[in-house]
Amino acid sequence: MHTNIDRTKIPEAGTIPGFSLLDETKLSRIKLSNGIDLRTYRYKKLPVVQLYLVIRTGAYSDPVQKAGMTNLLSEMLDEGTKNRSALKIADDFDFLGTHFNTWASMDGCGLSMLSLREHLDTSLEVVSDVIQNPDFPENELTRIRQNVLTKILQEADQPNVLATKAFVKKIYGEDHPYGYPLLGTTDTVTSIERGELSDKYSRSFMPNNASIIIVGDIDAKEIANKLETALSGWEKGNALSADVQEIPDPGGSEIFLLHRPDAVQSQIRIGHRGLERKHKDYFPVRVMNQVLGGQFTSRINLNLREDKGYTYGASSLWDMRKFGGHFLAAGGFQGEYTDKSVYEIIKEFREIRDKGVTHAELESAKEGLIRSLPRQFETPSQIATQLANVALYDLPGNYYDTFVENVQRVSLEDVDRAAAMYIRPENVTVVVVGDADSIKTPLEYLGIGKVILTDAQG
């Protein structure tokens, strides 16, 4: 028995479900006695506990001659403590089936742990040892440093990585920490010594410079008590202060071409300096980017993939950091269409800057952003990631309560103004990694800017 339905009509959406992103009754924020900012969220579906440690000092604080230090520090955290060897730490976690990782970014660093509830106490014992007592053993440092140097060497194999590295270098320059890759360079990593790492550790790993996020099947007071005990030896101090210089944008446009003989595809990056994470126009810019290149049905992807078939996928993004950021469009494009791809992307920049977006595009971008929220709060690690971002970027405590409102408030004028103010098609840095022999001349014919042949070292 099949009721007749009218297939020619798009089904109506039913009633929008009520959903509070982070139910306040499950959320709590507690200051521990040594200054740790603890944020917890009760999750009861499964007997698991997710922990994130967020240290608010990232690679932005590395001197440029020591680029890669924050990354190396994070990689060394679980390579030996005053009580446990590297193998013992790994064995303790693996035996329980506890997942443990360290992380580092331009803006912060830390670690994460996912444990079964039944193994929480034992897992916390090891985690708190790693947080408080890393010893940076010389022999492990030699091994990890070599591992990082080899990773840097292998990046030469990956055109997409080369393209992004060259792009940020051109955008921020050699005097700015954001101009360096997170891993550092061969020279900088080689020069980092044990004493420098332990010094960096003691000036950034402090309870008053840390947030701990806990999402799991555990009561806030109970976990607060456990952490008070486990981290009782961790002492406050004065964290490194930020000394990140503003650097003016280069004027005009230039194309940097990295030669990969016979490459069948060109990796392209096009963009310029952008905005910091706490910029007042965060929401208009986010909505505008959805239309431009932030989703599958964005202008850039529909044009270059679905209409022209030049690429498997193209997108644009705003990397918004603590101290500034950048905007770029990116993708891998069939070699023979390299010039056309660059042309089309810049054309899309110009279109949105000059003509803005349509009412339909605006509504669809806003609704998409709002409606996508529930599914981003499903798992403990998703919830913890969201809370960690609020902590790391020092966003308001009610950030997610007001998120929907803030998106809804974005008007057509706001988006058009943001596009006109922040997208600068005449002032782009273009990086192309591809077969220079066949694409250099066509790129010159575009007339965008000088085409400069360069190598992986920039």
Partner: protein, 454 residues
């Protein structure tokens, strides 16, 4: 796979069965399964953690159904499934789901093709409309232009993920030598440039009629759903789609390698990498779980045998991984290790061989035995966090249903890992990881064949 901006595509999405088990610690996974008159299996699973719903649809067809000369077609067809159907115009699929705040993707392996989307729960009917329209009314919307654009997109996918990627051709080379020419696992799901380019609209029609009928599919809907209402919607949208011809199940066909095969390939890479592959069993077959545990003990974590000796102690390798790729008509175990600068693959191979020999003669220690089983147990619980997406609960219910005819195996699977013995694990390693029964592939930097093992 579709490349979704800012959500970079997974490169090679072979099914992996390592992360599975059974019985969450707080009770079994509940579901309801029934079959429509046209043969479509329907599985419903309630989870009200967040007000979203995920629709996951498996078609029991992958590149294993292709014939030589038409390689890559199952995957190209997956792309065509996003190009509109009779009532849903081209481009609407992405547009409507993204406007609903949803996320979606699809993937093709040797054995199956899956499609999924996750949206706020009030958009369930929209997903059912889109899925049913392309299951029942795809062909009227197919055009030459759409096909040719997707051929270009897929060729670019191949350039990006295989031809232009370091070591990107390794799996293709291994497959060619692991299987005889007429075995469908002898080519990869992406297919050859030439075959992709030769696909025609006639191929699209024939493939659709043969393999995309409801009787060759399994639909799983999970999340914040009302069972009765969902059943009624499923019946309205899918009930009138006619069955396709019966599709016979493929039988395992596992070749026997008698003499090891040694290959060397020069690539645009900085460091040499060694690949060694063995045939094992088939998905959910005898020894399948045991081989997963062998691989865990050998390569997962700093204390695993191979990681410890190659990367930690001798420091001759940058990385090592061992995978057990469980597939319907023949599984393989592959070890992959990248040499540190100036290290030859001969040294790497020697160390791996010694470690495997020791494992086969002595078996696991008690601590290793506990460790690998604990890892399976916790991974199983962790894997129940997500309802939708690749390897989410809906995806796995469909997997058990497609391969075993029983989604309920989700609640028994972990038993395979917990109830086995040290001796079963040791002897499985001995049966499959024999030195003369493998394909050894050296990938070396151009002009540096002296680094290869010969």
């Amino acid at each position: 796979m579709i490349a979704i901006p800012s959500n970079y595509p997974i490169e090679f999405n072979e099914s992996k069965y390592n992360d599975q088990g059974s019985m969450p610690l707080n009770g079994a996974v509940t579901y309801e399964k029934y079959t429509l008159d046209n043969g479509l299996d329907v599985i419903l699973h309630i989870d009200r953690t967040v007000p979203v719903v995920s629709v996951n649809l498996w078609y029991h067809v992958g590149s294993a159904r292709e014939v030589r000369g038409k390689s890559g077609f199952a995957h190209l067809f997956e792309h065509m499934m996003f190009q509109g159907s009779q009532n849903a115009a081209a481009g609407l699929h992405f547009k409507l789901i993204e406007d609903a705040g949803g996320t979606l993707n699809g993937s093709t392996t040797t054995d199956r093709t899956n499609y999924w989307a996750t949206v706020p729960k009030n958009y369930l009917e929209l997903l059912l409309w889109l899925e049913s329209d392309r299951m029942g009314w795809l062909l009227p919307a197919m055009t030459e232009k759409k096909l040719h654009t997707q051929i270009d997109v897929v060729k670019n996918e191949r350039r990006q993920n295989y031809d232009n990627r370091p070591y990107g051709l390794a799996f293709e080379i291994l497959s060619e030598h692991l299987y005889p020419e007429d075995h469908p696992y002898s080519w990869t799901t992406i297919g050859s440039m030439e075959d992709i380019g030769n696909a025609s609209l006639g191929d699209v029609t024939a493939f659709f009629k043969q393999y995309y009928g409801p009787n060759n599919a399994s639909l799983c809907i999970g999340g914040d759903i009302d069972i009765e209402k969902t059943k009624s919607l499923v019946s309205q949208y899918f009930g009138s789609i006619p069955s396709g011809p019966p599709v016979a199940k493929m039988k395992p066909r596992i070749p026997d390698i008698r003499d090891a095969i040694y290959l060397t390939h020069e690539d645009n890479v900085q460091l040499p990498r060694l690949y060694m592959a063995w045939h094992t069993t088939h998905v959910y077959g005898h020894d399948d779980a045991e081989m997963d545990l062998v691989i865990d003990a050998l390569s997962h974590g700093k204390n695993s045998r191979l990681y410890r000796s190659l990367v930690y102690e001798k420091q001759i390798a940058q990385d090592v991984s061992f995978m057990h790729i469980s597939r319907e008509i023949g599984s393989i175990a592959i070890v992959v290790a990248t040499a540190r600068p100036d290290i030859s693959l001969h040294q790497i191979k020697q160390t791996i061989d010694e470690d495997i020999d020791a494992f086969v003669s002595d078996g696991l220690t008690d601590r290793e035995f506990d460790r690998v089983r604990n890892a399976q147990k916790s991974s199983f619980t962790y894997s129940l966090q997500r309802v939708g997406g690749f390897f989410g609960v809906t995806d796995r219910l469909n997997e058990y249903n497609i391969f075993l005819g029983d989604p309920g195996f989700i609640n028994n699977d972990l038993t395979r890992y917990l109830d086995t013995t040290k001796e079963n694990i040791r002897s499985a390693a001995g049966r499959y990881l024999e030195p003369n029964k493998r394909v050894v592939l050296n990938i070396v930097p151009k002009g540096k064949t002296e680094l290869a093992f010969k």
